[in-house]
């Protein structure tokens, strides 16, 4: 599935897909460790939390599915059938999926849906997987913050002059910047912390989201929303749909 590219002098260079696989493998250690340690504590008499086990396993599977989807698309095994998609309903669905993991990490997921905007042409499953992976990544990295307001994860959609912006944001002001994100894109699969100022993980979810969005001719970019900073993608509203809704 993953490709290794051989350079002119015969060195193996990891492709984006392979690097993403490495980042994912590192990232998935966390939920498995949580489950394993929780089982060890249960044996010691600690009250079991089946919800926690279910949530952690569920999010690990979401991440794996997001990765597989991105690979199938990038390897041409799956044709993206773009359809009119309501961004706000996708964000709502992702927020629902993230509620339980957010509770485990003592985070709060908020939805900010600003104003009225039309549907965009996208692949619903990929967009939902991208937003969920992105949100999960931010929850994991911000869950350790001491202040409650630093543990707020915002899923937001709003319209600007370029189109409809959809993404995930947090209050950690110094953590995410254009430069930090560009640097991180060079580092995933190579570095253990792709954005050290943001968090302690390889942030595989962010790069899975980016790969999924690129398949829809969009991409993740650094973005600001009110006092929050985050990563978001821009979608051009479909002109035909705009005419219909007028």
């Amino acid at each position: 599935m993953s490709k290794m590219i051989v350079s002119e002098n015969g060195d193996f260079m990891a492709s984006d897909n392979y690097r993403l696989l490495e980042a994912l493998a590192e990232q998935l250690k966390l939920p498995f460790m949580h489950i394993s340690q929780h089982a060890e504590l249960i044996k010691k008499g600690v009250e079991p939390s089946f919800d926690r086990i279910e949530t952690l396993a569920g999010m690990a599977l979401e991440l794996i599915d997001g990765f597989l989807l991105s690979q199938q698309i990038s390897l041409g095994q799956l044709d993206l059938a773009l359809e009119p998609v309501s961004v706000s309903s996708v964000l709502q669905e992702s927020a629902n999926k993230l509620q339980n993991i957010a509770r485990e990490y003592n985070c709060e997921v908020q939805l900010h849906l600003g104003g009225k905007y039309n549907s965009v042409m996208a692949h619903r499953e990929s967009l939902e997987a991208a937003i969920t992976s992105l949100g999960y990544s931010l929850i994991e990295s911000q869950g350790g913050q001491q202040k409650k307001q630093d543990r707020e994860i915002i899923l937001a959609a709003y319209r600007n002059g370029y189109g409809v912006i959809a993404g995930a944001y947090c209050k950690n002001s110094e953590g995410i910047s254009k430069d930090a994100f560009n640097q991180a894109k060079e580092l995933y699969g190579k570095a253990r912390q792709t954005v050290p100022s943001l968090g302690h993980t390889p942030n595989a979810g962010i790069f899975i989201a980016d790969m999924l969005l690129r398949a829809m001719s969009s991409r993740l970019r650094f973005s600001k929303h009110r006092q929050y900073r985050g990563l978001a993608a821009t979608f051009s509203p479909n002109r035909q749909l705009e005419l219909i809704s007028v």
């Binding site: 250690k29 990295s141 953590g175 993980t201």
Partner: protein, 136 residues
């Protein structure tokens, strides 16, 4: 009851370590970043520090250099409890010794009972004033 400072950026992992250590009758102060950990040591010197190397904004080695720059904090034993595999650490045994690292535990392969064992062994050595016979 010994006092343990846990510097762990992941909330869920920290909760598990705290529960396991408290079940073994240790008192734990959890901090998720280097700056808060330094403030915490300033308030109360712990008997052992459990340290993840991958922390937000800093890395654990920078944190260690910083705390070792204060004379009164030079003797606090440190156990590395990290996601970083040992072969990737690129730290020589002499650096381990100089930084007061008494044990290294690779998180994905460390059971909670091994963590407790390491903490208790470290406390025994520390109270027996045998820290100079560093295990690394």
């Amino acid at each position: 009851m010994s006092k343990i400072l846990l510097l762990e950026p992941d909330r869920l992992l920290a909760n598990d370590y705290i529960k396991a250590l408290e079940l073994a009758n240790h008192s734990v102060i959890w901090q998720s970043d280097a700056q808060s950990a330094i403030h915490s040591i300033d308030k109360q010197i712990p008997d052992v520090i459990l340290l993840e190397l991958q922390i937000r904004n800093h890395n654990g080695i920078e944190f260690l250099h910083e705390i070792r720059s204060y004379t009164e904090w030079q003797e606090i034993p440190v156990i590395l409890l990290s996601m970083v595999p040992k072969q990737m650490l690129a730290l020589s045994p002499s650096i381990f010794k100089r930084l007061g690292i008494v044990d290294y535990l690779y998180k994905p392969q460390t059971k909670l009972k091994h963590l407790i064992y390491s903490v208790e062994k470290t406390l025994q050595i520390s109270t027996g004033n045998l820290r100079e016979s560093n295990r690394y």
